[in-house]
């Protein structure tokens, strides 16, 4: 079982490294089409990465080693997420813990690394971005914990791969009110965590409205490439988790070549489909005012709390 789980983890890692830039390409392409543009093609993020990785970074005077190490820490945390989350397969092995608390703390590692990168050069916008980022993170993490906790009650464990496995065996759980409330809360939390609309605008050029973008303003060349890859991987992994929680079909539970291939195709399709939905949804959304972001996130926290309460009333 452990050997199989390691194989699945390696497959997930390779797949996500391939799918994450493609996901961003698809999101941007769909958005461009809806705006009446032609769009640069779905492979443009690959070209961007290739170019950025070939450029030597320019560091601001007075910046420290954080500017070099921080982006790598973000990529590492995102890669760990890709290994730990049940994306291609939901095999449960103690060596690869997909426990709820492990996942959230791995995610926090990346959040803190990114915030430190923003602070390092000592610019006004970087510090502002980091402070906003930490505010959002502090509001989002409890929601993620609570939402998945609500999902864990029918499965009787907080291990995500077992939760997904339980939903696959008994699909009636998926459309129960508890699950629906928790999924909505989780979806809002993921949007906030990955810096999408309506919490943050990923394509803004206005420094005063930035969150994620403000923190990476001082990064250049290779450092910027790692920061981009880190956030893309995180978005792809979390969308994959959401996809597997909503529609767990296709995920690998018994190890054969065909089931692994099916798992790869299924999770890729789920991630890209969610990406298209996200992109279409974003065309219709405006960024909410910063002071209303806590209201939105408090709303999602309330939904998660309702889900937990309901799960005790129902069960």
């Amino acid at each position: 079982m452990t050997g199989q789980a390691v194989v699945i983890a390696v497959v997930q890692l390779a797949l996500l490294i391939f799918v994450a830039p493609l996901l961003i390409g698809v999101i941007r392409q769909v958005r461009a089409r809806l705006e009446g543009r032609v769009g640069p093609g779905v492979w443009q993020p690959w070209r961007d990465l290739r170019k950025l990785l070939g450029k030597n970074p320019v560091h601001a005077e007075g910046s420290s080693w954080i500017l070099t190490v921080g982006p790598l820490a973000l990529v590492l945390s995102s890669l760990l997420l890709c290994v730990l989350l049940p994306l291609v397969g939901a095999l449960n092995a103690p060596m690869i813990p997909s426990d709820l608390f492990v996942i959230v703390s791995v995610m926090l590692l990346g959040v803190v690394a990114l915030a430190l990168v923003g602070l390092d050069a000592g610019t006004a916008f970087g510090g502002m971005g980091s402070s906003r980022h930490m505010t959002v993170a502090a509001l989002v993490e409890p929601t993620v914990l609570l939402a998945i906790y609500a999902l864990s009650i029918p499965a009787g464990t907080s291990t995500l791969s077992v939760i997904v496995g339980a939903r696959l065996r008994d699909p009636a759980i998926i459309i129960s009110p508890v699950s629906v409330l928790a999924m909505v809360a989780l979806a809002i939390a993921i949007m906030a965590e990955t810096g999408r609309l309506p919490v943050d605008n990923p394509s803004t050029h206005l420094e005063l409205t930035m969150m994620h973008e403000a923190m990476v303003l001082e990064a250049s060349g290779r450092d910027l490439a790692w920061l981009e890859v880190g956030s893309w991987l995180k978005l792809a992994a979390l969308l994959g988790l959401l996809g597997n929680l909503v529609a767990p079909w296709g995920i690998v539970t018994d190890m054969t070549l065909w089931s692994v291939l099916l798992g790869i195709v299924a999770v890729t399709a789920k991630i890209l489909l969610l990406g298209v939905m996200l992109s279409v949804g974003e065309v219709f959304l405006a960024k909410v005012r910063l002071f209303r972001v806590p209201e939105l996130l408090a709303g999602s926290f309330t939904l998660a709390l309702l889900a937990v309460t309901a799960s005790y009333l129902v069960a």
Binding site: E35, G36, R37, V38, D48, K51, K55, N56, V283
Partner: protein, 161 residues
């Protein structure tokens, strides 16, 4: 605008972008970018007419983004600096510092007659000189102001697409 109204407008309008003209030859040295160029726009003291035309080039009609060219918010992310206007005394130092902050390899495009020769304001008391007299310019787009199509063509020479 309501959601349905916006959806109806999207389906009615369809594609706004004009058909792409044939690709101009790649500028020597720009092959390092491999079809992806990030542009930082700098107004070094122009009268905003060239700036308007640059915005037009990045809008949905000329849609320069389809060739892999994007505007970015920081000089640290940029490969190409797009400079308009004759350089004024106040903006000389910020301009030089912006260029210094841009990682190599970097290219500089001077857009408009003011940036190339100084144009109508060349003898102004607040003007240090045209961009080309202060920094090495790789590509010039003449015109006062140039049309967006000319700016698009200069940018396409950077990606070769």
């Amino acid at each position: 605008m309501s959601t349905t109204g916006l959806a109806r407008m999207i389906t009615r309008v369809g594609r706004i972008a004009e058909p792409a003209p044939p690709a101009p030859p790649l500028l020597a040295g720009a092959e390092v970018f491999g079809g992806s160029v990030d542009v930082r726009f700098i107004n070094a003291g122009g009268c905003n007419d060239c700036a308007q035309e640059v915005m037009g080039a990045f809008g949905p009609v000329y849609d320069v983004e389809r060739y892999g060219i994007r505007l970015v918010a920081s000089a640290r992310h940029a490969d190409v600096l797009l400079i308009v206007g004759a350089v004024t005394r106040n903006l000389l130092e910020p301009l030089l510092r912006t260029i210094e902050a841009t990682p190599a390899p970097r290219f500089i495009i001077a857009v408009g007659d003011c940036a190339i020769t100084g144009g109508a304001v060349a003898d102004g008391y607040g003007v240090v000189g045209p961009v080309s007299s202060l920094v090495d310019v790789n590509l010039e787009v003449p015109g006062s102001p140039p049309e967006p199509a000319q700016i698009v063509e200069a940018l396409r020479r950077m990606t070769g697409r």
